[in-house]
Structures are given as C-alpha cells and as structure tokens.
C-alpha cells in the first residue's frame, strides 16, 4: 500500500528495481559536512592570517603540528568510541600513566626499547579495562571512564610518587623532536600515516562496518552475527594504543615524564571529534571530519597565540567554536 518513490526525468539503470536519479557529484560534495568544515577552516585561517602576518607562514603552520599531533592521534580513537555510542574520559590520565611508565621503568634500569614496549602494553591494558567494563558488564561509558580517569591518574601519581623523570637517552628526543627534510616535524608524518590507516580501517574495512553497525543499531548487529561485545571492547583498546603512541611523542617532545601530564586533554579531544561532525549519540562520524575538527581547534589556538592574544582567550575561543560548530552540525543533521 506504500507507493514506491518514482524517479523523475533523468535516470540511470543501475541496481535493482526502480531507478533513482543520480545526484550531481558536485552538489553532493557541497552538502556534505566535511565540506562545510573545510570551508570553516579556510575562513578561520584567513581571519587569523589577518590578525598576524606570521600565522600563515609555512614555518608556523608546520610548527603547530608539533602540538596537535598528540590530541589528534587520540581523537582518532575517540571517534571510533563515540561512533559506538560510548565515550572515553580517561585518555588524558592514561597518557600520563603511559608517560610515567616509560619514564620510570627506564629510570629503574629497563632498556629503553622495553620501556617503550611496556608503555604500549599499559596503554592497551588501560583500554582493555575500559572495554571490558563497558562492553562486557554493560556499564555506562561515562561512569566507567570517569572512574578510570581518576584511577589511571592515581596510579600515575603513585608510580611517579609525584616526581618526574627528565633524563632520557638522546635518541629518545629524536622521536618527538625530529624533522624530516629539516622542515617537516616527524610527528606530523606519524600522524598522517596513522590517520590514513585508521580512516581506511573505519571507512573501508569490515571492522569499520561493524563499528558503524554497532553504533547505529546494536541489536540488529547482534542478530546479524556480529561480535558486538568484542567490537565495542576493541574500540577502547585501539584508543588505548593510540594514547600510548601520543604519550610517547609527548614525553619525547617535553623530555619529561610526570604524573600530571595530559590534564584536561580528554575534553579538548572530545570537542574536536564532536566539532568534526561525529554525533555524540553514536552511529555517525568520519576520520576526515575529526581531522578537520582537530585542525580547526589547533589553528585557532595557534593563531591566537601568534597574534599575541593571551592564552586564556583561546580557551574562550575553543568553547565558542565548540558550541557554534555543534549547533551547525545538529542543524545540518536535521535537514
């Protein structure tokens, strides 16, 4: 009794049944959220460029990347988490824990490579704790990661005994401070590579489809035979490993491992992800969007700093951009 939607004039015979008109690719591109965000980024860069002539130089832009890579890597994982209707507030604390693990185990005599490996293990385990509590026991992600946020921070403080490690092998500094071809910061390349990997995984692989399926409709995913619990848990483990990588780069960059690293990091990561179009209620989101979100926020903070605006105002800017950006996203979503 429902009348199938009939196609108007121009039609292409593809797929089953009644053909539906092809949308012109340019029109589709314009309507997409990522395009809107890209536009926002460009406008923002132009405006910031006006505030300071130094902003739009290659030197400065590359320099900015040294700072946003850490948040960016974590944001990749956070995107996956939020798509599955979860959230992870513990990433900042986990960063500190991994950083402290690397630093203090090295100080305790472990060969450096092993210390780094241990760091990754800790990152993965931290993610696993979150994953099991949330996916297996079915506890609220907000509540669990609120708890692990405090727990990981506490362990980080306990391990470091409120102290810090600053002596690392000179080769270590290389990780966070090297430049490729003298110009491009090494961590930017790392970020690009990892981002591409995650983007391909999410957008093209069967695991990525599983993530979207679980985020859209967990019940139907289960009926279809998808291992829902494992998928949800894995997403937190992946985030944990990305946090470990970020911790490695961060520790190298500042040449210090201490327990209060990454405070407040989780909120700016979530802000970037949500700004990038990922719906906090789950089901949708892209890596491209997240990267744009990260860039928008990073450029904003850098641009303001370079223009001599006191850092306090960049906090205001981040908050404002978050509110406006999400409002725009929500409005687009309902059209």
């Amino acid at each position: 009794m429902t009348t199938p939607v009939k196609a108007p004039v121009k039609s292409t015979k593809r797929g089953p049944g009644v053909p539906v008109q092809q949308e012109h690719w340019a029109r589709r591109a314009v309507g997409r959220r990522e395009t809107v965000l890209l536009g926002l980024l460009i406008v923002e860069c132009i405006v910031l460029g006006q505030l300071s002539e130094f902003f739009l130089t290659v030197d400065n832009l590359l320099d900015t990347s040294r700072f946003f890579v850490e948040a960016g890597l974590i944001a990749l994982g956070m995107t996956l988490v939020i798509i599955t209707r979860g959230i992870d507030l513990s990433v900042g604390s986990l960063l500190a824990l991994v950083s402290v693990t690397i630093g203090f185990s090295y100080q305790a005599g472990l060969p450096f490579a092993l210390a780094v490996l241990l760091g990754f293990v800790v990152g993965g385990l931290g993610g696993l704790v979150n994953g099991l509590l949330i996916a297996r026991l079915g506890l609220s992600a907000l509540a669990v990661t609120l708890g692990t946020m405090a727990l990981f921070r506490g362990v980080a403080f306990a391990v470091s005994d409120a102290g810090a490690v600053s002596s690392f092998p000179s080769s270590f500094d290389y990780v966070g401070q090297f430049y490729v071809g003298g110009q491009v910061p090494g961590q930017l390349l790392v970020f690009v590579v990892v981002a591409i990997l995650v983007a391909v995984m999410l957008g093209r692989s069967w695991f990525g489809r599983w993530i979207y399926a679980v985020g859209h409709n967990e019940l139907a995913a289960r009926f279809a035979g998808l291992p829902v619990t494992r998928t949800k848990a894995m997403v937190y483990v992946i985030t944990g490993l990305l946090v470990a990588l970020a911790a490695l780069i961060y520790t190298s960059r500042v040449s210090t491992a201490r327990g209060n690293a990454g405070m407040g990091l989780e909120l700016s990561v979530i802000a970037a992800v949500v700004l990038g179009g990922t719906d906090i209620r789950g089901g949708t989101g892209t890596i491209a969007g997240t990267i744009l979100g990260v860039l928008i926020l990073a450029m904003l903070q850098n641009g303001l700093t370079v223009a001599g605006v006191p850092t306090a105002w960049s906090l205001v800017a981040v908050g404002a951009v978050l509110i406006v950006g999400v409002y725009i996203n929500e409005t687009i979503r309902h059209d």
Partner: protein, 517 residues
C-alpha cells in the same frame, strides 16, 4: 442497545500522508458511548495511524474530528487526554523505575495537604480505588518495572480511568497476555462498557472480536472498507473484507518433496521461557509454528539460532549434535533466523541496502581486511534482483524502502549465507499485500530447492496455507503437532489456548529418510 447510544467521537473523511506515503484516505469512523467497536485490518492497513489521530499524536491532513458532536482539533496528546480520550498502546509507555502510584499520577493533578505538600496518602488511596474498580489488588508502591506485562497494562488502563477517560483505545491488548490474564481483561472491558465508556478494540484475534465487539470496522490500504454490527458478519466474510480477495489467491504452494531430517530439537528448555520443546523439520518441508504471543515461539528459535542460547536440551543438524552459542556459529552451521521486528532487529536503517544484505558475511567480501565494494554490490545486487526488492539503489539507506521491501532485504541477508534451515519469524507482518504474495513465492522456491523452512506466524491463514506440518505452542510448551490434513483453524486455536488436542505424536524420534509424498 448499542444502536441507541450517543456518538462520542466521530472521524469524518480523515486523510494522512507521511512524505510520499498515503497512510489514510477519507476514513470515516465513529464510536458510541458504551460500545466496543473493533477495528480490524491487515498490518499496514492504517489502524494505528487512525487511532494516533484520535489520540492527538498525529494531525490529520484532511477531514474532521468531532467529540460529542462538536468539531475539535486535538493538537497534542495532552489535548486528547483532556478531552477524555486515552490510548493504551501495544508498546506500553510507562516509567519502569517509578512506583505504580507515581505512574498513575504523572501529568495528572495531585491532591495536596493543607500545608501545600503532596498528599501521598490520598494519592495511594486513589490509586487503590482505581485498581479495585478494575478488580485488582495490588501494592501501589511497587515499581512498575517489577510488575508482569498484564499488570503493567492495567496500570495504563488505571491511568486512563484516573483521568476520567470516556473513550479508551486498546491496541492489540491481549498480545502479551496469557489466557487467564486475557479473560481478566475481558471482564474489565465488559465492565467499562457497562459504565458507558466507549472502547475501540484493535486486534488480530478474530475470536476475541466476535466475542467482545458490538460493531466492526474494516480498514484496508488506508481506507474504510465497511462498518457493520457484529451479528452481520462471520469470520470468513471478515477475512475477505480485510484482505480484499480470496485468501487462496495470495499463496503459492507447489507440492513438496520432503527429504531427510535437517533440524531436530529435543527437550529444549530455558527457564521462564520454554520447556521440553521437541520437534523436527525435514528438507523440502515447511513447519508452521503458531500460538499466541508470549507462547515462547520466537524464544525457542532464537535459542536454536544462537541468539539467546538455551539452558538444556539437544539440537541436531543433519543428525550431528551441535551447540550454537552465538548467531555467527548458528549461521556457520547453516541456520538462518529472520527476526520478528525488522526495524529494530533485522535492519540497520541508516546503512545502505548493500551493506545490510552483506552484513553477516562482510569478511568473505574482503581482501586484506578491506571490503571489495564491487564484489559486495554484485552479491547484494543478485540477491535483491532475485527477491525483487524495489524502491531504491543499492547505495541508498535501507530505511527508505517500504515495509515489504525492507522485509525482503532482511530475507536477502539471511539467504546470502546459503543456509539449509531458515526460520521466518512473522515474515509478512506490516507488509502490503503485493509484497506478501512475493514473499510466499520466495518461500515456496526455497522449499522446492530442498531447504527446511520454519514459519512462525500469528496469521492463521498463512500458517494453514503454507505449512506441511504445524506445531502449536502454548505457554512455553508444545501443545500440538499437526499434519497438514489435521490442521484446522479450530484445532490450532484450541491448542494455542491450551485445550487438549488430538494430533500426531510429538516427534522426538528422528524420522528416517522417506520417499517424498
């Protein structure tokens, strides 16, 4: 006499569209005080939409609504409640964590004490009064979530009574009730009727309708077919009005050659859901499974297909004992389950048709972890062609399709894995007549190809027309097993209600391979 009663509400030439889909066209319906007016029709005929218009949830695009003779517009559900109209939905909308008293009073005026505080004592007393009027004794302080479905329904009715509802709309009220609970409900309905309350009674259970109703209105494809006093109709005539053509034209049934036993289940049990269930299905055979909702049919097959594993009992596929504990394991064994609720259990509405069809087997379409879109499209395309899915491109979100086409997509997904045993749970619910016909054709093809089909359905006609054998369940147990010749509507209905039956012996002993009939 019902004929003399005053008309309480009247809907005249009401129309409603949702986007491009016409849900109601020029429907006329009226309800008198003190009558039970049954509203019947196939799934998708427009019954729910019409009642939502009456309850102020939807606004009609055309036509009028009058209450006690005065033309009114019910802009919100609240307006309808204020006008004395209460909807008891099929899916109850209660607050599970709150007490019975609380649920009764949400949105209603609460009595206060002299000092301005809520008078909880009075509220509790009022609540108990309401329930006494319903003939129920209950602890009103208990959280609603702890009550049985039947009692929760009474809380909904209680809410309506507290607000002095004069019109009650009941949507499939006995769907989740046992027989005793249903009987209790009928007493309540009769009592309300005698007090002058007008009741719209939507149900698929023709027996109930003939027992309770004063008048019957039939809807088909969004339009009124007829309204008649119950005395002027019988079941066959009613069905003809509902379906619009002779039942038999709908079904496709070639002769079946039954082969070896593919699925055997022995003494399967799950506490609280079903007990000691045993049956078998052969290749090239359709086993119909009927029974009232709540009888445990879906639960049994969800257990067999690994979605909610059973606690005890044995399952054998082609003679070998198996234990499917996850849906993926069941699929690997050649079992496929097409769920009841296609929108919440069967499909991911926002994902594309191609993704939905291949969802269970994405890995087989992947190399190096990445899904090969061309392979995916080819396979999905072939399946959707074969099942005549119409209405959108493979890339379009499956939510855009009509109910019937969506159901075909769910079927496509199940068939992609080339299962040997296919369980169809209410496959034609909410599906238009045309698509129903096509689905029956597909089922017939599958059977002829040598698969074993289980057809769980609440539509008697469907079960009777398509099945080779029929298993009837009642309150978690197998109440009867009938051959095609033995299965009549009376016997099936009797078994579903728990009466004693005659029929073939329950088949726990595996049948030997036989020459086809």
């Amino acid at each position: 006499m019902p004929g003399d009663q005053v008309v309480r509400v009247a809907l005249r030439e009401v129309s409603k569209r949702f986007g491009g889909v016409v849900a109601l066209s020029d429907v006329t319906f009226d309800l008198r005080a003190g009558e039970v007016h049954a509203l019947v029709g196939e799934n998708g005929a427009g019954k729910s939409t019409l009642m939502k218009v009456l309850a102020g949830i939807h606004q009609p695009d055309g036509g009028s609504l009058s209450i006690d003779g005065v033309e009114t517009r019910l802009a919100t559900p609240h307006a309808a409640v204020a006008a004395g109209i209460a909807l008891i939905p099929q899916e109850l909308e209660l607050f599970e964590e709150l007490s019975v008293v609380e649920n009764l009073f949400v949105g209603a005026r609460r009595p206060r004490t002299r000092s301005g505080l809520f008078d909880w004592g009075k509220m509790r007393a009022r609540a108990r009064e309401v329930f006494e009027a319903l003939g129920v004794d209950t602890d009103v302080r208990r959280p609603v979530g702890a009550l049985s479905a039947a009692n929760q329904q009474l809380v909904e009715i209680g809410r309506a009574l507290l607000r002095n509802a004069e019109v009650l709309i009941m949507d499939e009220p006995t769907a989740a009730l046992t027989d005793r609970e249903a009987d209790r409900l009928f007493t309540v309905v009769a009592d309300l009727r005698s007090r002058g309350v007008g009741i719209v009674y939507i149900s698929h259970r023709l027996r109930e309708i003939f027992a309770l109703a004063d008048r019957i209105t039939v809807l088909r494809d969004g339009a009124t077919v007829d309204t008649r006093p119950v005395g002027e109709l019988d079941e066959a005539e009613l069905v003809r009005l509902m379906v619009g053509r002779s039942m038999q034209e709908l079904f496709t049934r070639s002769s079946h050659q039954a082969g070896g036993t593919l699925l055997e289940v022995e003494e399967l049990s799950m506490a609280g859901r079903f007990e000691d269930v045993s049956f078998s299905v052969r290749a090239g055979e359709i086993l119909g499974v009927s029974g009232l909702i709540g009888a445990g049919r879906s639960e049994v097959f969800k257990a067999v297909c690994g979605i909610e594993p059973s606690q005890s009992g044995e399952i054998r596929i082609a003679g070998a004992a198996v234990t499917p504990r996850t849906p993926a394991q069941a699929q690997a064994l050649g079992l496929a389950y097409v769920p009841e609720e296609r929108r919440s259990e069967g499909l991911i509405l926002k994902m594309s048709i191609a993704d939905n069809v291949t969802l269970s087997r994405l890995r087989t379409f992947s190399t190096w972890g990445l899904v090969k879109r061309s392979d995916q499209r080819t396979a999905a395309g072939a399946m959707t062609e074969r099942l005549t899915v119409r209405g959108a491109r493979l890339d379009a979100p499956v939510g855009r399709l009509s109910g019937g086409n969506q159901q075909k997509v769910v079927l496509a997904k199940a068939l992609l894995g080339e299962p040997r045993v296919i369980v169809l749970d209410e496959p034609t619910r909410g599906v238009d007549v045309g698509a129903k016909s096509e689905i029956y054709r597909i089922v017939d093809e599958l059977v002829r190809a040598g698969n074993a089909i289980v057809l769980v359905s609440s539509e008697m006609a469907e079960v009777l027309a398509m099945s080779d054998r029929v298993m009837v369940m009642h309150e978690g147990r197998v109440a009867g097993l009938f051959s095609r010749a033995e299965a009549t509507p009376e016997r099936l209905a009797a078994a579903a209600s728990g009466a004693q039956h005659a029929g073939e012996a329950p088949a726990h002993r595996p049948r030997q391979t036989e020459v086809g009939e």
